[in-house]
Symmetry: C2
Subunit: 259 residues, 2 copies
């Protein structure tokens, strides 16, 4: 597999560039590259080109920029994953997996039951770290888009700010009297907000606020999912439901069928 | 949440029992339990009862066995995840997540491109460890069934031995000319075999052998999934497809619709 490198925004006429320090480091230390190596470069904004390493010096790595190539296609539904802060480093894996599955953005949430002390969340550092994780995940999964990682918001602020066409609130089976599917979600939204809670779940006030803001409560089967696995499962099922996995198309009895 | 403890097979008339050493240890050290604590006990074979800790001694913990209670329901489709060995400890997480999602069994596979030296796989030890992981995951997700972890098999032996009604082979987007859905899989199978390959993917011979054995090739969108995330995504989508997530029901254009 050809190595993929993340570079600043690519303009049409660009013919040569110097790699950013982290990518140069990756090329030298991880790939142990030599001049002449064929690579691909992607700019995080959807552009990808062929490339060839021309020189590897102490002060920089130069790449000759080639023809445009097609990266892995983006989802037609622009999904923002609004994910509660989780204990420890669990959100790192959530960001990595959400990028791999194709989300457009990740919105960290401060929720009532998120058991994360404020001191443990150093805003700037964490966002920067999640951005690096997003770049690494895009590199691996073939996307040329690096999803944005927003600054954390409260649930109320998120519901006010992220005005997506479809809004789904993932709830535990125990939070509702019976399983709830996507009835109430639009069939082919242009944008969607998926809200996933912390280890302790949503508070009753949060569930009420989300319902009032037009969110559809959704459950995913009868077993209790680990907090850090829940967003991956929910994204998988919603992406299939919205037709992003060819051949799978999910039918909601309340909405009629589609391919 | 009431603590759940894994115990040997429960018979109808049982009124008191001594916890196995590992569960007694969990109760003492993790839960720091005292006599009188209400618990639930499950036997891994589908039975769950209320319980109450009656004594905590140096040589054992006694539990009074109460009335039967309903555990998280099992899937109607009995899915066996046949998963290639993966590097490092990655299969540990796959076992944990597959149990959480509701599989009936896990069949480790020795595949052509699995980059796992034979010496690194100490059969007895690994199976025992995966069993402990399966118990811990069942404890957390609410199942009273602990899925069986089989001894590793070659792909050919697995295809000969695990005769499920539906057989799906997960392939990378790059392995097929266009995305493949579940067309060809039965609509409501009683049992299903899901085959997931290693980091390096399946060899051409393996894909051919699986096709000859009646497996349907399935892809999951256009992005490249990490090897250890692929089984979780595939299980999520297939469970929704087969109606195990209420409200979601997936339509395959080739098979007609169902709820």
């Amino acid at each position: 597999m050809v190595a993929r490198l993340h570079v600043p925004p690519l303009s049409a006429g660009e013919r040569t560039l110097t790699l950013p320090p982290e990518e140069a480091d990756y090329l030298r230390r991880v790939l142990r590259a030599r001049p002449g190596l064929a690579v691909r470069i992607f700019d995080g904004a959807g552009n990808e080109r062929e490339g060839r390493v021309t020189s590897i010096g102490r002060h920089g790595v130069s790449v000759e920029v080639g023809d445009p190539v097609a990266p892995a296609p983006e989802c037609r539904v622009r999904i923002t994953l609004a994910q509660s802060l989780l204990k420890g480093d669990k959100l790192d894996d959530v960001v990595r997996d959400a990028v791999m599955l194709g989300v457009a953005a990740v919105q960290p949430l401060v929720t009532a039951r998120a058991d994360v002390p404020a001191a443990a969340f150093d805003e700037g550092g964490r966002i920067e770290r999640w951005h690096r994780i997003a770049v690494a995940s895009a590199r691996q999964c073939g996307r040329a888009v690096v999803p944005e990682i927003y600054q954390p918001l409260s649930l109320d602020a998120c519901l006010d700010t992220r005005r997506c066409e479809a809004r789904a609130l993932l709830v535990e089976p125990s939070a509702v009297t019976q399983g709830r599917g996507p009835r109430g979600l639009p069939a082919r939204p242009a944008s969607a907000l998926l809200l996933v809670g912390p280890e302790g779940g949503w508070s009753m006030e949060e569930i009420r606020a989300a319902a009032e803001a037009g969110c559809t409560a959704v459950t995913l089967g009868a077993r209790t999912l680990r907090a850090d696995a829940a967003p991956l499962v929910a994204l998988s099922v919603l992406l299939a439901y919205w037709g992003e996995m060819p051949g799978f198309g999910i039918r909601d009895p309340g909405l009629g069928t589609r391919g």
